[in-house]
Amino acid sequence: MWRDIWWVAVHTLKNTFRKRSSLLVYVGLPIIGVIGSIMLYGSAGQQVLRVGIANEDGSAVIAADTAAYVSSLQHVKTTLLSREELKKKLASADLDSGLILEKGYSDSMAAGKPEGIAIQSVKGQTVTAYIKGMLNAYLDNTAAISRAAGGDRAAFDKLYADYRGGGFKLETQQVADTSLTKAMSVQSIGFLILFMMTAAVNLSEIILKSREDRTYYRILSSPISARSYVLANVLVNIAVMVVQVAVALVALRYVFGVDPGLPIVQLGGMLILFALVSVSLSLVIVAFSKNSAVSGAMSNFIITPSCLLAGCFFPISIMPDTIRKIGDFMPQRWVLQSIDELQTGDTSRISINLAVLAAFALVFFLVAAYKFGRNNDTKTFV
């Protein structure tokens, strides 16, 4: 029996990959998915803000210090220019935001009543929040000095000079932010899951297509049983899934250098378990389809929406509570959740998650086997 299965499986593999397009579909698409998620997340967190500064307070020390302070901030590129130029460049989106230091700004700071400072932007709070936050820290310090001087300008100047000379400096240190790469790898896996499920249905559809071109009946009139034929197809399906997983993970980790935040072997093992779910679901779709057109429609109806609900395309955390609860009924959700938990080092629920995945696979296999068994007629199916 296994000799027969092997013969059909090798034939199916050869026949499938005879077309170069199959290589692209089954191996290329998962890599494209990884590239897509990297591009999606690649720009996040590394954005440089272009800030224009219009200093109308001349050579006043505090105004000059404020401008220098903003220039020293990380991820900020400043340009000194006039108020008119600033407005034009903001309007033409050549700048993200503008800082205007009006005449008398330094004096107002020394008097403890900050005035004449404004931040402008046409892009709103998303670009001004960072500058505002950093500036507030600086202004609070200056205001504190002013309060300490008690309105005495000479005392303020002396305290401010000490403050400047006292080596006050803002030290920033880069803390490794792994959330981005973790999110990126989860989303890459999300796309990989979509491609795995689609590929599984495509490969199982070979059974339907062989029925349509009559080769199925010819094969069944040989010593091969229907069960062996379906098993050969399952074998091919799983082999392709394993290759897909391996290629996608190698690309993610070693080609694009994204650390998924958990050992690659654990991630691979989990995805291979999910491969069983994909294959069993594809068999259910094929068992309930009269022809390949119906199974194509059915897979579109099932795969993309379920991936969407399970959080394959964007984080589940941004979805409403009801959708999240529906997502729990999708097998994809349990893979993504397991990855999430392993990334945070929480392994307490992993065995439950894996058991749920295995249960999904088992139930789908049983449903498919039941349906195949009921179609025991050449005019219908196995």
Binding site: R3, V8, R214, T215, P223
Partner: protein, 312 residues
Amino acid sequence: MNVLEIQGLTKKFGNFVAVDNMTLNVKEGEIFGFLGSNGAGKSTTINMISSLLQPSAGEIRILGKDSRKHSRHAKTNLGIVPQDLAIYDDMTAYENVAFFAGLYGLRGKLLKERTEEALEFVGLGDRAKSRPSTFSGGMKRRLNIACAIAHKPSLIIMDEPTVGIDPQSRNYILESVKKLNESGCTVIYTSHYMEEVEEICSRVAIVDHGKIIADGTKEQLKAIITDVKDLSIELKPGSAYSLQSIGKIPGVRAVNEKEGRLSIQSDAAVDNLNRILKSLMDGGAEVKALQEEEPNLETVFLTLTGRSLRDQ
């Protein structure tokens, strides 16, 4: 020795009885013609013999063994040439034959030899590396046959193997069937072309409504209809006559006209030739030739089922 034995074979689809208590034996070395109109139960029977369908009742024995209990033995000894082409268009002719032969357990050198032999046998040896998409209909039919014979089965079932092909390919296939038979292979052959069955089959069974209504050699079947005679009358062009008045002559069962030739089926016991000729000449027709036709399988089929095989 019987290669195939069918006992009380029945297949029901709900209340519809497709095959009704059929009993049939096919002897070793025969080319057995299986005739029947569409829906007569021919394909259902073939599907049961090839294990694609489970019988509702009855028994099929291939080379003496129950085909259900010894499914692998039965299938290994069978070669199926299905009516619908069952070949892969994106594989070469060689790959097609090798794949199907491999399903019967052939591997390695033997597989290569048998594949080449089968392709040579059907005249496709020089096209082994070509894909069927570049083949004519006749070549595809021949490839379909090659896929069924590479494992050298004892019994080959050919279901309408000459449908829709040119006369040359048809002759090639008929000659191939004869050669296969000469090499010791038993063949079950179904066709709508009565002249093919008449030419190559040594024994014929006629199936109607799921039952075998006649079974025997061609001569035995023709002998069934000794009560009928067939007249063929060729008339000069422009001859006038009345089919209706000929049809009313006592003993005449049916009258047909095609391209100036009248075919008249009449009771053999009634001597009505003079009356028929008189009726024609009274109408002003001129008889060019007259012949009493030997009964053929078409006549037998028509007489037994009341229908023409090709008109189904």
